[in-house]
């Protein structure tokens, strides 16, 4: 589904990302882990064509992301609060994203209603602008909005951070449901090793812009990762 070749990103002679060959198959769920500055967000930004690679190309379903816009039809993402429109209410924001993704109001409402327990009665019908919600609630809105319109690729940057334990657990279920039919490719980055091994069937460890580990998830993965990061 996603193929990146010879990707490097260099800022002022400082190489922040250098990945020779990286391939993600359709329906895989990938967990990206690494310490701060490892290049996780840089990789996502390259994938979303928000920044340009210094060398190399990324293909999303065969489309070179920097040359055509058509990958946007089936890709959705939530990176940070710069993906939220502060002066809309959550409902308006969902409808707006829905319209962009060819979903009518009823479609959006049907989807959003599945997340009522995820929202914990703090988001829908509160008559507040997004900018007036707490950071955690903003994040929930962004994550759910990224699920609107049956995307084939979902990219979530640190979705577990800032969420309360109940919501983290519920979010894991949501991501698992998303990937169980092997139709949706999910990319998640996280600092929480146990959550990310829970939801991913492949874990990629980045360090200083390079892939240092690429593991199929199994019972031993979490201990492996903990060993790796404690050194």
């Amino acid at each position: 589904m996603i193929v990146s070749e010879n990707i490097t990103k260099i800022y002022n002679n400082n190489t922040v990302l250098e990945i020779e060959k990286f391939e993600i198959k359709k329906g895989q769920s990938i967990g990206l882990v690494g310490n701060n500055g490892a290049g996780k967000t840089t990789f996502f930004s390259l994938l979303l064509d928000l920044i340009r690679p210094t060398t190399g190309t990324i293909k999303n379903n065969g489309i070179i992301v920097s040359e055509s816009d058509s990958w946007k039809n089936f890709t959705s993402s939530f990176i940070d609060e710069s993906f939220l429109i502060g002066y809309l209410t959550p409902e308006e924001y969902f409808y707006f994203i829905g319209e962009l993704r060819g979903q009518n109001k009823a479609d959006v409402e049907a989807l959003v209603s599945q997340f009522s327990d995820f929202f914990h009665d703090e988001i829908i019908g509160k008559k507040k602008y997004l900018r007036d919600l707490s950071k955690g609630n903003q994040k929930k809105v962004g994550i759910v909005a990224a699920l609107i319109g049956n995307p084939e690729v979902v990219i979530l940057d640190e979705p577990f951070a800032n969420l309360d334990p109940t919501t983290q657990i519920r979010l894991k279920e949501i991501i698992k449901e998303l990937t169980q039919n092997k139709a949706v490719t999910v990319l998640v980055s996280s600092h929480d090793l146990s959550h990310v091994t829970d939801v991913s069937d492949r874990i990629v460890v980045l360090e200083k812009g390079r892939i240092v580990k690429d593991l199929e998830t199994n019972a031993a993965t979490l201990t492996d990762l903990e060993m790796y990061f404690s050194n």
Binding site: L48, D49, L50, I51, R52, D69, K72, N73, T75, S77, I79, D80, S82, F83, L84, I85, G86, Y87, L88, T89, E91, E92, F96, I97, E99, L100, R101, G102, K127, K128, Y129, D132, G149
Partner: protein
């Protein structure tokens, strides 16, 4: 402790991300400040002589005292809109061991050296010197000037009390209105008695204790107010969360694939302070035409200045809103760039919005036909020129925009988001139509000159699709710079 806070402030000023970038604007602002100071100084130096000439029977100082009454009231109004308590990163300071009282004293003292309080000195000191030259008693003059300086500070602190609630504001406005009415209809002279009070500050130097007393009173009141509400969820540091109604704007659906953006833009405009101000300003500017069309110094029906007015009033929203086009969306630009939309749809929605605004403003300007068919024609032609030439030119210049805009900040004296594009805009917007019209009108005739402007607009409209697709290419190239620029606060 004050020294440490000052050091922090110093660093925050010189290390702010846009310190070096905005240097051109800072220089311009500095010029503006110098200009104001010179004006005030000239006014101060000349005030004695003006008043002596204007009202020869009254002591000039007394005349000035009466004028100062109006000045202080106006000052209070301007402060209400423009002066805010100097911000300091209070949240970070709240939890470290600095006394609350120190922070509040610091904030209040910092406010008293704001431009609002410094610029009046440029009036008061030269005026004092003029008084001394004219042989007024030295001690009395010194104490009078001191009293006035203190009264300016009193205004400073009254403002923060007023700022806390609109009730105070409406109180002051109605008080002012009553004064003006009473004065105007000659029922009772309010200004003179207060002016006389100011004058008595000259006569009795020890009366300076009264303004000083007021100053202490208002300072302490402010201090107590802030001390009480120096919490995150209260007063100065918090913002009120309003309950809002969703709105749908279904009528915009007829614009097809760009409808969702248009709806969003309308919400953007109504729900955020700065874009809302641009709309209000555009409507207010419609009246600007009156100044040009009724005043004969701008020539009879159909002069170059009338072309300026016509382009200006029909294109006011286009210029005011349009100049910052992608920057309005800077807070969520990454979302728009990774969503299922093309740059073309996005830009097209902005273009339609600008064209709609020109249409509406042109319609609203039609009453100017009253001032003659020439002026009416110029307004229509101005609208067409704006739509055909200025909209594409503006959108092209917008591709250079890469400075973030905070939607919730006031538009008054707000230079955030300004860059080279905003200055270059003046050329196609104003200079070209005025030049073209002026030249042809002079050499040939009004009809031909108007016709040429109309044709320029018409050609732009005829080729708009071609121009537009090129614009999209330009924007796609600059997108990455915008993504980076809009992230920088």
């Amino acid at each position: 402790m004050f020294k440490r806070i000052l050091k922090l402030e110093w660093k925050s000023f010189f290390r702010s991300a846009n310190f070096t970038k905005g240097i051109a604007i800072k220089i311009l602002l500095a010029f503006f400040a110098v200009y104001l100071m010179v004006c005030f100084a000239a006014l101060g130096a000349g005030a004695y002589y003006f008043s002596a000439n204007a009202v020869p029977t009254v002591d000039p100082l007394l005349t000035v005292c009466r004028c100062i009454v109006i000045w202080f009231l106006a000052d209070l109004l301007i402060r209400f809109f423009a002066q805010k308590l100097p911000a300091l990163n209070s949240k970070a300071l709240m939890v470290i061991p600095i006394k609350k009282k120190t922070i509040i004293h610091y904030l209040l003292l910092k406010s008293s050296i704001s431009a609002f309080n410094v610029i009046p000195l440029f009036f008061l000191f030269p005026f004092g010197v003029a008084l001394l030259i004219k042989g007024y008693a030295v001690t009395n003059v010194l104490f009078w000037v001191l009293s006035m300086v203190v009264l300016v500070q009193v205004n400073n602190f009254i403002n923060f009390i007023i700022n806390k609630s609109n009730l105070f504001f409406y109180g002051i406005v109605s008080l002012l209105a009553i004064c003006v009415l009473v004065e105007y209809f000659g029922v009772y002279d309010v200004i003179s008695p207060i002016g006389d009070l100011y004058f008595s500050l000259y006569k009795q130097p020890f009366f300076v204790l009264i303004p000083l007393g007021l100053l202490v009173l208002f300072y302490v009141t402010n201090f107590k107010n802030f001390l009480q509400c120096f919490y995150l969820d209260d007063g100065v540091l918090s913002k009120k969360v309003k309950v809002v109604a969703s709105s749908e704007f279904l009528w915009l659906n007829k614009f097809g694939d760009v409808a969702s953006f248009l709806k969003n833009d309308i919400k953007l405009i109504w729900r955020n302070k700065r874009p809302r101000m641009t709309v209000i300003m555009s409507l207010a500017m419609l009246l600007y035409g009156l100044l040009f069309f009724t005043n004969s110094i701008y020539g009879e029906g159909g002069s170059v200045m009338h072309v300026f007015a016509a382009v200006f009033i029909t294109g006011m929203f286009m210029m005011n809103f349009g100049q910052f086009v992608p920057a309005w969306d800077s807070a969520y630009f990454n979302l728009l760039m990774s969503q299922n939309i093309s740059m073309k749809q996005y830009l097209n929605s902005k273009r339609i919005l600008l064209l709609l605004s020109i249409g509406v403003l042109t319609l609203l300007s039609l009453p100017y036909f009253y001032f003659g068919w020439k002026i009416g024609m110029l307004i229509l032609v101005g609208g067409v020129y704006n739509a055909g030439v200025n909209v594409p030119a503006l959108l092209y210049l917008c591709s250079f925009n890469k400075k973030r805009i905070d939607l919730e900040k006031s538009a008054m004296m707000n230079y955030q988001g300004m860059g080279i594009a905003q200055w270059l805009m003046i050329i196609p917007m104003i200079l070209i139509p005025m030049g073209v019209f002026g030249l042809i009108n002079y050499v040939v005739s009004f009809n031909v000159a108007t016709g040429v402007l109309f044709c320029l607009g018409g050609v732009g409209l005829a080729f708009q699709n071609y121009i537009f697709s090129n614009l999209v290419v330009v924007f796609k190239k600059r997108k990455y710079e915008m993504v980076i620029g809009f992230q920088q606060k």
